[in-house]
């Protein structure tokens, strides 16, 4: 089942999934916040293209709406909001020194292999492409989680969280050509409210510990020193 024998549509989907996987890897290793947000916007863009492509090939209308929704949300609104935060806090200059960066990248790769291994049983019920696309989306989710674990900046956590959402959207598009309309709207609404709340919380955190470093927030613990 090599790539040449597939029609144009599946080839496009596969390349798109490869690119999305690449962007999440890029985000993993990124120290600077502004660049991180830019790569996240790129991932949003790729996601919109895949949705558009899928909508075009199956020409059902609601996929177009979800493509527009994703574009406006994931490419325009959230990156803009995050960038404004970073600039207000003028954190765009300091680079987060990622400790043991190589081990994080290696574990990212192993997560990718692991997600392929996990989704192996699905192979005998659906086509090869489905397995690859799903595996990539699972790895995007896992990498998003790894991104949150390895970074100390709150903004990086938000980006990680949003990239997990991207991974989920990608899985939905690829596996079942998008969720039912109601669910699509609900999820988009939740993501929007989450983004707004993140903004509010940035404000509160800055007022309470006047830095967005997550490790400073560990007053609530039960380990007596």
């Amino acid at each position: 089942m090599n790539i040449e024998s597939q029609d144009f549509y599946t080839q496009a989907i596969l390349s798109m999934s490869a690119l999305v996987g690449l962007t999440s890897f890029l985000m993993l290793g990124q120290g600077r916040l502004l660049r991180l947000i830019f790569v996240f916007a790129l991932q949003g863009l790729l996601l919109t293209l895949t949705t558009g492509l899928c909508a075009y090939s199956l020409d059902n209308p609601h996929l177009y709406i979800s493509a527009v929704l994703t574009f406006s949300l994931k490419v325009i609104f959230i990156p803009w909001m995050l960038q404004k935060q970073v600039l207000d806090m003028n954190m765009h200059r300091d680079v987060e020194a990622l400790k043991n960066n190589t081990s994080v990248m290696l574990s990212g790769a192993s997560l990718m292999v692991f997600s392929y291994y996990v989704l192996q049983p699905i192979i005998h019920t659906s086509s090869m492409i489905m397995l690859n696309a799903l595996a990539v989306s699972l790895s995007v989710v896992l990498l998003g989680l790894l991104l949150m674990i390895s970074h100390r900046q709150a903004v990086a956590h938000v980006v990680g969280f949003m990239s997990i959402e991207n991974g989920l959207f990608f899985a939905a598009i690829v596996s079942t050509n998008g969720m039912p309309m109601v669910v699509e709207l609900g999820v988009a609404f939740d993501v929007l409210v989450a983004a707004v709340l993140f903004g509010i919380f940035f404000l509160h955190i800055r007022t309470s510990i006047d830095s967005l470093d997550v490790d400073l927030m560990n007053k609530l613990h039960e380990v007596d020193k």
Partner: protein, 674 residues
């Protein structure tokens, strides 16, 4: 009819509790109703008990409380009837004692309401335990009893020692109840459901039966206060109001014994002699160490609580004997053992209640429970001291009183050991009988100390000096009634023995050996020529002898008695401090049995000026610690704290570690599933 009486006893006790609650909100409801209902509950319990024993039928019923498919099954046979009688007598005497006692000590209505509410619940819980015929209702009644008595132990929760004792008490009750649930669970897994009839029909392998037995023994033993797990008892019982500690010490321990008997003799399909040996050993250990620790106590109520441990040890020892005989196919001697155990629990309930009520009166009049601060009360509280003397004589099993009858029957059971063929058993049992004799003698010594130091001699403190006899007639009526019963059953034991005999008939299927004589005049448990004892004859002989020698000495009484100050060997006045204190009285025994205690003696000398020679003042302090506290309770507590400390490290406070946990669990589960 019996069931009606049994139910009315329970309902009356709950009613007395609820009236106390109503009284809290509407003070015009008369307080006396609470005690009247309590008395009615005691009376109906006595009637139900006696009726159940006389008719010796089994009454079965179901209440549609509890789960729809597991309603509450009620079972009232002669074993529950006997314990109904015990509880009835105790509650009836309490209902006379409590009014004046609570009137004086509990001023504000809120604490009175709490006290009477939980007394009602406590008594109702105990009565329900006796009626239960399925594990579900048994456990509900069992822990209702524990919770209600917890509130009573934590009654005056001002000082922290009471709170600690109450917490320890409830913790032990909870752990005991969990073990009992596990024991029922083990049996139920081989039967179809949780009713006792199903458990009786369940067929377990001997291994599982022994597991169930051990769990039940620890569970019930924890509540009864057998040695290694008894430490909560002397902490919890003394802190409750005295008529409650009388109920708890006298009667609640018996309900635990009832549970043990019901489980071992009734539910388990057959009995093994190894269990009997286990019971025998634990019983002996509890008896000896119980009385040894009782000797060393200064607080009167702690002393009485430890002596309860001793008496429970004796009961469990005799139960072990009866189990050994039952396993070796000698049902008559097993019946004799069971008879001795049940009679001793009956007698113990009587005289322990009497002693605790006496202690309550002493505490009430002198606000002092430390034996070293009392003394000379016999002249100030003549009636109480006479009743307390009767209690002391029966607990140290002197011939004319009921304690002696059950002690005598216990020895008779032990002496029947010659019938067994297993050599090891025939050597262990006499040794444990000797330990029983040692316990009886130590009990006599302990209660000589108690009565001698409290009532005789010269008052050691201002409180003891100012004490006056209580004026309330009803408060004295309760111990007087109990003392009368102790003396009556000491002289005419066959009246109660007939009733208890058909309990053994129902449980083991056989009563005393055929040639046994339980006539009004004398009792011979095995056969007339084996051993017989006729208390009325002894009484008549004693009265005759006393009369004769009194008549001889007072025939030509020329010289009446001369009262003179005590002779002080000529060199200076005698002071009360010269009298023997409790630690002095028990010093020889403490030195002889020193390995049994953890003794910390400290002597501080303060020198006058800087010379090393003349001593201004010497302070001697003695503290006795219980072995099982150091070797059993504290290691468990520290273990749990250490493990909790390790577990606490999960909550590091850092969000990234939490996300790490989430990722790790996800990967682990995915790997497990794939």
């Amino acid at each position: 009819m019996m069931l009606f009486l049994a139910y009315s006893a329970v309902i009356f006790s709950f009613a007395s509790g609820s009236i106390a609650l109503v009284h809290l909100f509407k003070p015009e409801v008369n307080k006396q109703w609470v005690f009247l209902l309590l008395g009615l509950s005691g009376l109906s319990a006595i009637l139900a008990g006696v009726g159940g024993l006389v008719t010796s039928q089994i009454y079965v019923d179901t209440l549609n409380l509890g789960l729809p498919w597991l309603p509450w099954h009620i079972h009232f046979d002669s074993l529950s009837a006997l314990f109904y009688l015990i509880i009835g007598i105790a509650v009836f005497s309490i209902s006379f004692y409590a009014p004046h006692y609570t009137h004086v000590t509990q001023k504000d209505p809120q604490s009175f309401a709490v006290l009477s509410l939980f007394t009602g619940l406590f008594i109702g819980g105990m009565l329900l335990v006796l009626l239960a015929d399925d594990a579900f209702m048994f456990m509900i009644a069992w822990e209702l009893m524990s919770v209600a008595s917890y509130f009573l132990v934590a009654f005056d929760h001002e000082n922290s020692a009471n709170r600690r004792a109450a917490f320890l008490y409830l913790l032990m009750a909870e752990v005991g109840a969990l073990l009992i649930i596990l024991a029922f669970g083990v049996m139920a897994s081989f039967a179809d459901d949780f009713t006792f009839d199903a458990l009786r029909a369940s067929h377990l392998s001997t291994m599982w039966m022994s597991v169930a037995f051990i769990l039940a023994l620890i569970g019930f033993g924890m509540k009864a206060g057998l040695v290694p797990i008894h430490v909560w008892l002397p902490e919890a019982h003394p802190v409750a109001p005295s008529h409650i500690s009388a109920l708890m010490s006298g009667v609640m321990l018996k309900v635990a014994i009832y549970g043990l008997i019901r489980f071992c003799f009734d539910l388990l399909p057959e009995v093994h002699w190894e269990w009997g040996v286990v019971l025998l050993v634990i019983g002996t250990l509890s008896a000896v160490s119980g009385i040894l620790y009782a000797m060393m106590q200064q607080n009167l109520k702690r002393l009485l609580a430890y002596s309860s441990v001793e008496n429970i040890g004796i009961i469990v020892m005799v139960l072990g004997l009866s189990m050994i005989f039952l396993a070796n196919h000698y049902p008559e001697f097993a019946a004799l053992g069971l008879l001795a155990a049940l009679l001793h629990s009956f007698n113990h309930a009587l005289f322990k209640n009497l002693l605790f009520l006496g202690a309550g009166i002493i505490h009430h009049q002198t606000h002092e429970l430390n034996i070293d601060m009392l003394g000379g009360l016999i002249k100030r509280l003549p009636k109480t001291s006479f009743l307390f003397l009767v209690g002391c004589m029966s607990i140290s099993s002197l011939p004319l009183f009921n304690g002696f009858i059950s002690e005598w029957l216990a020895f008779q059971t032990a002496l029947r050991v010659d019938v067994l063929d297993d050599g090891v058993l025939r050597s262990i049992i006499p040794v444990s009988a000797a330990a029983l004799a040692l316990t009886a003698a130590l009990a006599a010594a302990c209660f000589v100390k108690v009565f001698g130091l409290i009532f005789l001699g010269v008052p050691r403190s201002r409180h003891a000096e100012k004490a006056k006899e209580i004026t309330d007639k009803r408060m004295l009526a309760a111990p007087a009634m109990l003392a009368g019963l102790c003396f009556f059953f000491g002289i005419f034991p066959s009246s109660i023995l007939h009733l208890i005999d058909n309990v053994a008939k129902q449980l083991i299927g056989s009563n005393l050996p055929p040639q046994s004589v339980l006539s009004f005049f004398s009792i011979a448990p095995v056969s007339a020529q084996q051993a017989s004892y006729s208390p009325p004859l002894v009484l008549i002989g004693a009265l005759m002898a006393a009369g004769v020698c009194f008549w001889i000495l007072h025939r030509n009484l020329k010289t009446s008695v001369r009262i003179a100050p005590t002779w002080d060997c000529g060199f200076g006045g005698l002071t009360p401090r010269m009298q023997y204190t409790s630690s002095a009285f028990t010093m020889p025994l403490r030195r002889i049995f020193s390995p049994a205690f953890l003794i910390e003696e400290t002597i501080e000398k303060t020198m006058r000026s800087n010379t090393q020679s003349n001593v201004a003042q010497v302070r001697y302090s003695l503290h006795i610690q219980d072995h099982s506290w150091i070797h059993l309770y504290q290691p468990v507590e520290q273990g749990v704290n250490r493990v909790a400390k390790q577990v606490g490290r999960i909550q590091t406070g850092n969000i990234r570690t939490y996300l790490g946990y989430s990722l790790a669990t996800l990967i682990l589960l995915l790997w497990v599933v794939s």
